[in-house]
């Protein structure tokens, strides 16, 4: 199989080489880091904006509405208008709030989701760092976001916020387990924790197909628990609009609210891209064994498009969840995790290990 036209490895290495030849190693690293940071920042903002727009349109179509359609073509500039509005909005100082933590909280949430993006491979050779323990890193970093939520709820000096934050804390602690275990199922199959190797391992078949039923179960569990981890409906208990008005970010306004709002969508994007990478082959095109003509056509679609397509499909599924289901209650959220997802997951890992051991996978 030939991905050479879409291989970014040599391109990246060329840039790397250019900087190291012309600058001292220290400055070369600094410049590279700045460039990567800026590129990610722009990508982050663009994806967040697009997802907010997409969510509005998706929920509108599910609800027999048109959605935003006033500002710009198909209402596409609505989110830019909203963004400007949020920027210009007054940031209300809260009496008796813990000022430092209150201001810090949105940034922690942003940083957590921003860091997780570093390890994700967007295409061959197109990732910031290719860590040996990529999956572990992503799990570790993405669960840091809850600290921001807890801080926001605690420092707001608002009872609704506090309840929302505590719910979020209880929820993340338990769902982190399911996320980890369902990823471990695939790690057993792939034998590596490195994202690039995981993707390469799916060249002749995505893991969701390779791993028989256990992989499918792991995928469903990952989807459910990552929805919970991204604080999305039906697990949006921390926000719980109809119960806690806006939960942990009740007291935030203006740009800080915008950060929380953006983060929700970025978290969704990140968990979807992890799911796409680990289960659906990342940037690998869809191949059917034996149909060479079909496979060649699939190869011509750039891997970046494959990656984004899979990710946005999963994002859409998560939006579909949110706009269909009623919210769970906190005890039911925990029951779901500890009574259903966790035992199934453990048994699932056992099955997967057995399959790998017997070499029954493709």
């Amino acid at each position: 199989m030939d991905f050479s036209i879409y291989d970014f490895t040599s391109f990246n290495q060329g840039i790397d080489k250019f900087f190291f030849e012309n600058l001292t190693p220290f400055w070369a690293t600094v410049v590279e880091m700045t460039i990567i940071g800026l590129v990610f920042l722009i990508f982050y903002a663009l994806v967040a904006l697009f997802l907010i727009y997409a969510e509005r349109k998706v929920c509108a179509f599910m609800q027999n509405r048109v959605g935003p359609n006033r500002v710009g073509p198909y209402g596409f500039f609505q989110l830019i208008a909203d963004f400007i509005k949020l920027m210009l909005k007054e940031v209300i100082p809260i009496k008796n709030a813990d000022k430092f933590l209150f201001n810090l909280a949105p940034f922690i949430v942003v940083i957590a989701s921003f860091m997780a993006m570093a390890a994700i491979p967007f295409a061959k050779g197109l990732h910031a760092v290719d860590l040996d323990i990529g999956i572990l890193y992503v799990i570790a970093v993405s669960s840091m976001g809850v600290i921001g939520i807890l801080l926001a709820g605690w420092s707001s000096n608002n009872k609704y916020s506090l309840i929302g934050a505590m719910r979020s804390g209880a929820m993340i602690v338990s769902y982190e387990l399911s996320v980890g275990l369902s990823l471990i199922t695939i790690i057993i199959l792939s034998g590596t924790m490195q994202f690039s190797a995981i993707v390469e391992g799916q060249a002749n078949g995505w893991f969701i197909f390779k791993g028989h039923i256990p992989a499918l179960i792991a995928f469903v569990i990952f989807l459910i628990s990552s929805t919970a981890e991204a604080n999305r409906g039906p697990f949006d208990l921390a926000e719980a609009e109809s119960e806690l008005t806006a939960g942990f970010h009740t007291e935030y306004s203006g740009i800080k609210f915008a950060l929380f709002y953006m983060c929700e969508y970025m978290n969704m994007f990140i968990v979807s891209s992890i799911a796409a990478t680990v289960f659906l082959g990342g940037w690998m095109p869809f191949h059917i064994g034996g149909c060479d003509g079909f496979n060649h056509i699939m190869d011509f679609i750039p891997p970046f498009i494959w990656y984004l397509g899979k990710t946005f499909f999963l994002v859409w599924v998560m939006m579909w969840f949110k706009w269909t289901f009623p919210r769970l209650r906190i005890d039911q959220v925990l029951t779901l995790e500890w009574k259903y997802l966790l035992p199934i997951n453990l048994v699932n890992i056992l099955f997967m290990a057995f399959i790998v051991l017997m070499g029954w996978h493709f």
Binding site: F61, N64, R65, V66, N69, F321, W323
Partner: protein, 160 residues
Amino acid sequence: MNSFFKYFTDIFNGVKSLLKGMSVTGRYFFSPGSIVTQQYPENRKTLKMFDRFKGEVIMPHNEKNQHHCTGCGICANNCPNGSIEIVQDKIETPDGKKERIIDKHIYHLSMCTFCGLCIKSCPSNALSWGQEFEHAVFDRSKLTKILNKPGSSIIKDITE
């Protein structure tokens, strides 16, 4: 064993019910024909209110700028909110009698609750509903309207 079995049927039924719900929203997502939103300012030209729509109280005038209102004040008495005021005028008819006619039929749209008692109680059917519904104004005083047009007179040929 029974509870073990129940554990799995619970999961199965739960997932089934969730998929059922998702099928509803999914179906609407893929059927843009089911969108019910009206594009209001764009469809202004084609938008027609129902004939009986209670937009505001109007006093129909004929082409000779004449109306039916005698200025009796029954509508003002019947109005629960005092949104109708009648200002009467005294004129002298050609045969020397003094007669009261209407000078101004003042209608406060801002106080009107559209109960229809004025229209129902009017003995000469001088009032009716108008279909205008875009009442937004920048100044509250603009909502006070004088229903009889300037220079209008009463239709004399009431046969009763």
